[in-house]
Symmetry: C2
Subunit: 150 residues, 2 copies
DNA sequence: GCAATTCCTACTGAATCAGTATGAGTTCCA
DNA sequence: TGGAACTCATACTGATTCAGTAGGAATTGC
């Protein structure tokens, strides 16, 4: 039940791109530095994000990456699937898997729970866009909970 | 974002115990056989479940395990925490961790999303009891989709 | 043409996970 | 009273996954 570092990194990097959205492309190096992510590792993730058509890369000097769609059109779920594959709490409750491998299924007491969990997770991830994330962070900053109440 | 086999096994085994609840203790061997779980592995899990006071063990011949509380008093979340420790989608959104390790937190765009996800997961797991699971399985059986599609 | 950048494949070390092995302690029952 | 049927406890192992690194080819702006 834990996020991979791929997902954590990718989401943070994408948020960074979203914040800069509209200007020119931003280099991998810059994003890695600002978010404190190993550069070469992030490079791998970006390749996957590009293949998933969430970002587009521009080669050569002054090149870099930028979002391939508007921030409000990219969900956390999209990012996660791009770098970690389909979301699946277990093999018998995975996306796009109607009747797969679990021969137990029809009489398994656990199955409905996993299905519900899977559903809950996916619906949160798919309903949160990069736009939402930035908006929330801004709000959070405005509310300014520093030194907050113990 | 995946359940461990510990959790999957433990929940299934607990459901088995719940189904038998009220009779005498059931031996590990029997549960393992019925749920097709490696016996020695399940033994480990049961020790943890016992320490968490979800089940109680009776030693000696004719011994075995039984639920330490009513099925409606044991949640999937309880079971999961017993065998896998605290539920945490990431280190900066974990249970019982007010202000821990993530120095980024206050300005991290991802944090609110993980917090929401964590919350959603925990609330599903903590609101589903063994009793609910059995009830659902029964319903499922009554709807009886056996021999189903193609 | 050269510097900055993306693109691509392969490797590696460490950590986690699933499962085993072995044996001690307890209790019932013949 | 002894042994069979159990739980209880610790330590080990092999495999897989994960996080991160290395090295270099291709492309583009200046």
């Amino acid at each position: 039940m834990k996020l991979s570092s791929r997902t954590e990194y990718a989401v943070r990097a994408m948020a960074e791109l979203a914040e800069m959205h509209g200007g020119g492309p931003i280099s991998l190096r810059e994003i890695a530095a600002r978010q404190d992510i190993p550069e070469k590792y992030l490079e791998q993730l970006f390749r996957q994000l590009r293949k998933a058509e969430l970002i587009s890369g521009l080669r050569g000097a002054q090149g870099g990456y930028s979002l391939a769609r508007e921030p409000c059109e990219i969900t956390v779920g999209d990012i996660m699937r791009a770098v970690d594959g389909p979301i699946a709490v277990c093999s018998c409750a995975a996306e796009g898997k109607g009747d797969a491998d679990c021969e137990r299924k029809s009489h398994c007491a656990a199955h409905p729970v996993w299905a519900k969990l899977q559903d809950g997770i996916v619906s949160i991830l798919d309903s949160t866009t990069l736009y939402d994330m930035l908006a929330k962070t801004a709000t959070q900053d405005m509310q300014g909970n520093r030194g907050g109440g113990s």
